[in-house]
């Protein structure tokens, strides 16, 4: 399919505003104007509508395709939350309004949404306070680690290291590094963190440890109480990566379990659309002793019920966002939480875990499941048993695409060879799970008979396997290169 630039016809009228009275040359000094035109395309509105409609048909999404992408919680995104985020009373609000004297009263509704969302998240997670500012999960991680750094600096602790288990998302070590820490890799044992291994790397230089619980293998970290105790003994803080919060709502609160900092992924647990890769939202919650270090501003409520922004936190890490985070995403998550309530959120967790275990049992006879015990909301299988017929996890993934499914996450976590990570979520029906299992079993059977069936997949999509080496070598990143 041609790019939109190739479809341009000079002179064709798009959604043009009325011609202004003066041209740029009449308004501004010639030396400040560009010589070469930006050369944006000239297209009719229908040209544009058709182009993007056709592009959309070259995509899988949750609405059209089962999307068991592990670690990403691709649950159904309720439509009414889009209605909420599109309400003009929210979309038209300029972000600096509450910073103007006397103008805070013009955005009381928005401030109330932020205040209430923070309170709901606090209760859900057992934390003292939340900030909604981080704009994605990884951004929440960075914010959380910056808070850990600020805490130790304030206490006069000379701490230089953050421990990250080997099963963690790559963003964990990257975030710790960008916040100025040295990263210590912690090997897992039997799929989870082992206190004996932890003891080997734990010393007074450790500022904190980042945990995902359940971890990326979908396993609950049952040594958690011991880990908490060990970290406390050296005044190290425990960080909860909320990627897998969908597994524990109503069953465990991270604050009660001993975590000091947590980031959530509203686009995962709270059903806001993933948007093809963003926007997300990564609020950060903290225990009482870390409240002074949260980013500014913070929304507060006066005795008369009015909401306002407080910037007066001298120990704060400062600003991680231009304003208050991805407010449009927060709106959707807030509406979702209100719709489900505490009971609904608990049911979401229960059914997510139920579905993952069901799918695991449907598949553990045809795929190797390295840690084949009760999992939480996801599980990791391995395609190693197909290696003798030279079939890899990648091939299974591509064959699933031909059947109309998005593939599971593959080659992650790194500690399982030929990993296939399945997360069905609570919103998929038993019919869908059964059909998926049947189709996957059929693919695996076919792969053993005729490996070319899967190594040549996909065959039904707009393109077959793409040459990634060529892409990296040629660096053709725009239509003009």
């Amino acid at each position: 399919m041609n790019t939109v630039f190739k479809k341009s016809t000079p002179g064709r009228e798009g959604v043009w505003p009325v011609k202004p009275g003066k041209s740029a040359a009449e308004l501004l000094p010639a030396g400040l104007l560009r010589g070469k035109s930006a050369d944006l395309p000239s297209l009719s509105e229908l040209d544009v509508v058709r182009h993007f409609t056709q592009l959309s048909k070259r995509n899988y999404g949750v609405d059209g395709n089962f999307y068991p992408l592990g670690s990403c919680t691709m649950k159904y995104n309720p439509k009414f939350t889009e209605t909420v985020a599109a309400m003009p009373g929210f979309t038209r609000l300029h972000p600096v309004l509450p910073q103007l004297k006397g103008a805070g009263r013009l955005c009381q509704g928005a401030l109330e949404v932020m205040y209430e969302t923070e309170r709901l998240l606090c209760e859900l997670c057992g934390m003292k306070a939340f900030t909604l500012h981080p704009m994605a999960g990884a951004h929440g991680e960075l914010t959380g680690v910056m808070i850990i750094a600020a805490y130790h600096k304030d206490k006069g602790n000379k701490k230089t290291k953050i421990i990250v288990p080997d099963s963690a998302h790559g963003t964990n070590p990257a975030s710790a590094h960008i916040a100025g820490f040295e990263v210590v890799n912690l090997p897992s044992k039997d799929g989870i963190v082992d206190p004996e291994e932890l003891a080997k790397v734990l010393d007074d230089d450790v500022a904190g440890m980042m945990m995902t619980c359940p971890n990326t293998l979908g396993l609950f970290e049952k040594n958690l109480p011991k880990i908490v105790e060990m970290l406390r003994s050296v005044d190290a803080l425990l960080y909860y990566d909320g990627a897998n919060l969908n597994a524990i709502m109503g069953k465990m609160r991270v604050g009660d379990a001993g975590f000091d900092v947590v980031h959530l992924n509203l686009h995962k647990t709270f059903a806001t659309p993933h948007g093809g890769g963003g926007p997300g939202s990564g609020p950060v919650g903290v225990s009482e002793k870390l409240v002074p270090y949260l980013p500014v501003s913070r929304v507060e409520k006066l005795e008369d019920g009015q909401f306002y922004l407080n910037y007066d936190f001298p120990k704060s890490i400062g600003y991680v966002a231009p304003f208050y985070g991805n407010f449009g995403v927060v709106l959707k998550a807030y509406a979702y939480i209100l719709r489900l309530g505490g009971t609904g959120l608990t049911r979401a967790t229960e059914n997510a875990v139920l579905a993952a275990n069901y799918l695991r049992k449907r598949l553990d006879k045809v795929l190797e499941v390295p840690f084949d015990r009760v999992c939480m909301h996801e599980f990791v299988a391995s395609a190693c048993n197909l290696s003798e017929c030279h079939v890899r996890a990648l091939d299974i993934a591509k064959a699933l695409l031909d059947k109309g499914y998005h593939a599971p996450t593959i080659y992650f976590p790194l500690i399982v060879k030929e990993a296939l990570m399945f997360e069905p979520t609570e919103t998929e029906s038993l019919d869908t799970l059964d059909q998926f299992a049947d189709d996957l079993i059929a693919i695996l059977a076919e792969a053993q008979k005729d490996p070319a069936f899967v190594t040549g997949a996909p065959r039904t999509l707009p393109v077959s396997r793409l040459d990634e080496t060529r892409a990296a070598r040629n660096m053709e990143l725009t239509d003009d290169l």
């Binding site: 798009g14 959309s56 963003t171």
Partner: protein, 445 residues
């Protein structure tokens, strides 16, 4: 239960296959000491009731006022087709295009977005976007630090203070030196910026139009930077980039922008769009996702995420950044917006914004005691005026009467307590400007 399809019979069947006695038993590994001490959340509500609640909250926000607020975030007209197209669920319910064959829609759109933003900035390479313009500026600075191995950043004080405070927070643990070069009445001090460049400087960071709305040609500064081995970073306003000398034409190495003005509503601060473009020497220092064009086994054109060896899922702590997602849906909207307006539409929009701002400046400075902060310095869609009174006071009075006159520069700049930053877009009417001028005149009497 909303959005959970399982009937009691389904659940029983699933438990039978699992071999578990109950759903509760699946959570047995969570010991009693880890169980919630409280879980006092409200009961769920119907869709209708939640919508009514949200309508009521939206109603507590006053959106009917005439506004001259900008400060880097502008209320532009968004073509209806942008909403209609970006709400196609094939786009918005997808995720990061890990499986390229099933994600060609997202991937080609990002490729086209990368093309569109490089054309605006005149630099050849772009990434798939980052969170917002402030993050883009920080990431650009970090590209320079890695590229040069130097640790000093020279920042013009007329770069958005909203971004400079972010830069300060982000760099606080990284042992970087931030040197801020004061503005002169809202104009960038090119001589002082040039003089500040030395062998320890990784980057010089400027903005055009700057926070005060004034315009500069940074060509000479960037040439001096190149000679000193310093990376030139410029933050721009994409709408005006249809008119203004491009970062590429000025010789910048990295150009970043807040993309909100391209098809994204103000929405109380986000989601927005951090645009990043650069020259070839810096492309491998780019953070985040990038899409490249390639072919499949049959020679058909296709698109993939590329240069992933920079990224955290492969490099972990050695990655160029911790960023793993982009603002894909926002980038998609920006691309749609640019395509619907096209070259002519964006140019007309920019010219109208500038024309309105110039008219507003003329009307407001006709009031006794009101002057332009930057004198005769050229400006685009935004400008600063000095009032005979504290700007906060004027804002308070006018806002009470339904007109938000602008942003008080005293919030960030000591000594500018009387200065007001006023922005216009194509949505600002000549009549509104007239009303503003009359109201301000009345207030100052």
């Amino acid at each position: 239960m909303p959005y959970v399809p399982h009937t009691p019979e389904d659940i029983r069947r699933m438990l039978d296959v699992i071999g578990a006695p109950s759903v509760a038993s699946l959570f047995d590994e969570i010991g009693p000491e880890m169980r919630p001490k409280s879980f006092d959340l409200p009961e769920g509500k119907s869709e209708m009731d939640v919508l009514a609640h949200m309508e009521a909250l939206a109603g507590k926000n006053a959106c009917g006022q005439v506004s001259f607020l900008g400060a880097g975030f502008y209320d532009h007209h968004i073509p209806a087709a942008v909403d209609a197209l970006s709400m196609r669920s094939e786009f918005y319910t997808a995720y990061t295009p890990y499986q390229p064959e099933a994600s060609q829609g997202t991937l080609q759109a990002i490729f086209e977005y990368q093309t569109a933003v490089t054309r605006l900035t005149g630099l050849p390479y772009a990434n798939a976007s980052v969170y917002d313009g402030g993050t883009a500026l920080f990431e650009a600075a970090m590209m320079a630090v890695r590229h040069t191995g130097r640790r000093k950043l020279v920042v013009c004080e007329a770069v958005s203070p909203i971004y400079r405070v972010m830069l300060g927070s982000y760099t606080s643990n990284l042992h970087l030196e931030l040197v801020t070069i004061p503005h002169k009445n809202g104009v960038c001090d090119l001589a002082a910026l040039t003089a500040a460049l030395d062998a320890d400087t990784a980057a010089v960071l400027v903005q055009n139009p700057n926070f005060f709305g004034t315009l500069s040609d940074f060509s000479a500064l960037f040439e001096a930077a190149r000679a000193a081995g310093v990376v030139s970073v410029i933050s721009v306003y994409p709408v005006l980039q249809s008119l203004l000398k491009s970062p590429g034409e000025m010789g910048a190495d990295v150009a970043v922008a807040e993309g909100q003005s391209l098809g994204l509503p103000l929405s109380f601060g986000g989601p927005y769009l951090g645009i990043m473009t650069c020259n070839k020497a810096l492309v491998r220092q780019m953070p985040g996702r990038m899409v490249g064009r390639t072919v499949d086994g049959e020679g058909r054109t296709g698109y993939v995420l590329t240069l992933q060896a920079r990224e955290q899922h492969i490099r972990r702590q050695k990655a160029t950044s911790n960023i793993c997602s982009n603002q894909a849906l926002c980038a998609l909207r920006a691309l749609m917006h640019l395509c619907l307006l096209g070259q002519e539409g964006l140019t007309r929009t920019a010219e109208t914004c500038v024309e309105r701002a110039h008219y507003a400046a003329e009307r407001l400075t006709a009031i006794d005691g009101v002057t332009l902060l930057s004198g005769s310095a050229p400006f685009g869609n935004e400008f600063a005026i000095t009032l005979p009174v504290n700007a906060f006071l004027a804002i308070d009075k006018l806002t009470a009467r339904g007109l938000v006159p602008g942003f008080p520069l005293g919030r960030y700049y000591a000594g500018l307590e009387n200065a007001l930053l006023v922005a216009c877009t194509e949505k600002t009417s000549m009549e509104q400007i007239g009303i503003f001028a009359e109201m301000l005149r009345g207030t100052l009497k």
